[in-house]
Symmetry: C2
Subunit: 597 residues, 2 copies
Amino acid sequence: MNHYDAPLRDMKFVINELANLEAIASLPGYEDASIETVDAILTQAAKFSSEVIAPINQAGDMQGCGLIENHVSTPAGVQDAYREFVAGGWNGLRFAQEYGGQGLPSLVAGPVFEMIAAANMGFSLCPMLTSGAIEALFLCGSDSQKETYLRPLIEGRWTGTMNLTEPQAGSDLGAVRTRAVPDGECFRLFGQKIFITHGEHDLAENIVHLVLARLPGAPEGIKGISLFLVPKFLVNADGSLGARNDVRCVALEHKLGIHSSPTAVMAYGDRDGAAGYLVGEANRGIEYMFIMMNEARYAVGLQGVGIGERAYQQALSYARERIQSKDAAMPRGDAVPIIRHPDVRRMLMTMKALTEANRALAYVIAAANDEAHRSPDPETRTRSRAFVEFMTPVNKGWATEAAIEVTHLAVQIHGGMGFIEETGVAQHLRDARITTLYEGTTGIQANDLVGRKTARDGGAAARAVAAAMRADIDELARHDDPHAMTICQRLQHAVNAFEACVDWIVATYTHDPKTVLAGAVPFLKLTGLVCGGWQMARAAAVALRRLNDGDSDARFLREKLNTARFYSDQLLAQVDGLRAIVIDGATAVLDFDESPA
Amino acid sequence: MNHYDAPLRDMKFVINELANLEAIASLPGYEDASIETVDAILTQAAKFSSEVIAPINQAGDMQGCGLIENHVSTPAGVQDAYREFVAGGWNGLRFAQEYGGQGLPSLVAGPVFEMIAAANMGFSLCPMLTSGAIEALFLCGSDSQKETYLRPLIEGRWTGTMNLTEPQAGSDLGAVRTRAVPDGECFRLFGQKIFITHGEHDLAENIVHLVLARLPGAPEGIKGISLFLVPKFLVNADGSLGARNDVRCVALEHKLGIHSSPTAVMAYGDRDGAAGYLVGEANRGIEYMFIMMNEARYAVGLQGVGIGERAYQQALSYARERIQSKDAAMPRGDAVPIIRHPDVRRMLMTMKALTEANRALAYVIAAANDEAHRSPDPETRTRSRAFVEFMTPVNKGWATEAAIEVTHLAVQIHGGMGFIEETGVAQHLRDARITTLYEGTTGIQANDLVGRKTARDGGAAARAVAAAMRADIDELARHDDPHAMTICQRLQHAVNAFEACVDWIVATYTHDPKTVLAGAVPFLKLTGLVCGGWQMARAAAVALRRLNDGDSDARFLREKLNTARFYSDQLLAQVDGLRAIVIDGATAVLDFDESPA
């Protein structure tokens, strides 16, 4: 059963109880996001994702994209699905109403994106990249650029791309060599860009490439990179499409996964140069690029949650149906569904706990992002922004590493059947594998976390998170419940470990960055685990309160409490080991003799 | 650089220093296995694996196998390579000389198999299955069966298969339904078998299927299963091939990896029944099957080591060549090879440490297996057999789980390039993914470990391992060296955790098996980690002794010491968390509400 049903109950629980939609809907500009309206939107999105895009996921993986003479064809059914996506207004949920968007908070758009990514990760990439382009143009584009490009992008009639890297550059964008030569009011671009997601396709009338390039005489390195807008078709003054620009897809990559998303090699200026328009100021391209990048990083974290949910659902369904071997406590009984076997339950609980914790953290970050933009209180805005900035690499890094573990376990639960492609579960593993690589590897996220986000402010943002966690532990500790006591005790211990790492990083980073960086990914994982445990503890407190109040949804709430207990028993158990690696694990890493023998 | 060079130096270090080839070569029947002879064999095997089968690995993955009217074609080049494999006598290394083998110890055949699996995992499957069939026939076949089948199988002119499971059975072989009807001196088999590795192919003159089936009136469940020999071509009295038997390949699976190994659906008796011959006694098929299975489990552990080594080599090579970003300690310097970045080093060290530890453990098990068979001292044989039996699920389970982590990290080190199939590193991840599934999933290994191998003898075999570890810690502690002190301290702590788990399992299993089974896989991982740490500590002791003696290979020895230090710092750090999960992690697993909401 390779089916997807959006987990609406858990999503709404998190949106309402943990991310506090009511408070977000009270912010200026978000008045439309009432609980009822959001409920209706989520229900529609669930229907769209399960009925329109989930069914074409596996066939799209098998068929893949084709390239014939610079034209890219997407797999059967994707064009129709994308048309429905545009018609439903799904692309513009969170963008400005003045440009055709719906002006909804990230706390609504995020869960909808999770559903789309879960239903069809390849499909989700096109809107993900378009959103990044919209955000960059909205914040950095000229009025005329906004007037020309934003509305069709927000509607989804046109799509956007991020053209960052080149073969020699990888994650080091300072090494970009693409040139932009002034030519009247515009520029002519020359160069080759690789790994361009949806760089060419047959889904939209036009494609708006945002491209990093160097102006003549620009400074070396990242301080000499500018951002250019290069449309596939030039746009006339009336908004209609003009001549084909000198930008072509010259190859598609053969990838491990996300086969329905074309990953293009783009050639700029093979003839007379691709016409491009400077976005914002010259030499500030990297700064603008980070606007897109942070958008995309957040979205990739949601992809991790979504693909994990999808894999969990498939594994759960299989484990309930597959009859094999007897119950260990009933050696004379019949063979039972494998979900009765303790190890299968352990794997399912691991998948469920990781996915729910990362979902909760992602939505709480979305709400903080909404506050950072719209709160009337400057202190709240500042505090929320610091939280979002600290959490962005944690969420991107940890939700995606967790997604790889979750999809791995989904294959494992299927046994030999998991290795057979027709089963469909291996696709999730292959699709998930990109998430720790693109938009900055886990290593890049971790370097950002320890350097810019932890050491630079002396640990202030990190300690604010720890303080918030302690307050929520106190809240949960008020409940006279054995699960609550265990969860509080284990989370308290984990928060102590987190703070110990923060103190050590702050004290060490300036004089010995390499020792700290050797433990950067373990610190990111530790932070993700602890913050996930925090959200599970908050969920447990809500569940206990509502159970005490005689809530009718008792089964869901007891299950939530049980999942929080599992999380504290089995996932927080990893924290001490990670602390040891962070603080005391670098010696042999740095001593590794790297030269060939 | 997708190349493979057998790691001869590490292999010989383990063979000679940790597995004590000299002692094995002194056992009756192994006199030929002198250090010099073994050295020559390993050198030849390294040449064969790197020059003949490694070069066809990636192309074979891309091409895959074809099926046309029951005939299976293997990818280009495999036939030639298999011919060279047979001509070189590689198939018969450890089998009886009276049937054409070379009678060498497992301690020689194991490392050679590791090389073959590393060079080309798909290729390695055919000899792996043939070896299982040889072993089963050697121990359980009649004289006439041995006379007819063993020599061509040992030479590799014929190949063997294991036909165990069926669609409804999975790992629960008691549910097998294939029927065997008496027909004069033989039997007629009717039924369908799935997941038959190299069930049909174009590499050999004949294929000898060993098939589980039920005789009329046999008891239900696993006590009513018998083992039959069913050749693809019937064999005449003079050994020449006769009529085609009624067994056909009706489909090949589309798999995530090991594309060059055909995984067949086999139909028996579509016409008048497939002629089969009973192996051993009726209704003892499962017992005989475990002979093949234990062979195969050990071999799969070696595949884990091999594929990990292959992935490590590719990642190391890439990390040395790929220039990207500045050294964190030299912000004004040029971009450096990524191996200078601490997180890349951490990943490489993780890969290296896991692979070397699992190799060492696997070879030590091979040596114990040789002692169990050939030691003139009955007590040594008994002790060695108990060690091998305890270690078989640990090695199979942990070396393969580690291989998945190692191949995952190899992709991660490549960044976005790792996701591109042409790079070749994703293939290792896909190939490795089968190793925790076939020949018994990790869950099956773990159940075997806690039930049959730990609880049943009251923890005796496990405590013998712990005692051996403590003796080796004392040995290492004699060295006045800071690395040695740290390694001893951490391993001591880990051994304590292992023994605490063993005590708890023994005390709990009989009255509460499900609570124990909920932690079976974490216990297997803990055991694998601790036993790997044990071998690394032994390696460190050898390295220190030889360094003190002024050995000329100082760089290799210092690196070995550093790897042992890394292992104790970063991998043994996981042990406490695993102990908590094993002993105190089952509550929420067992309380999981499994029914649909």
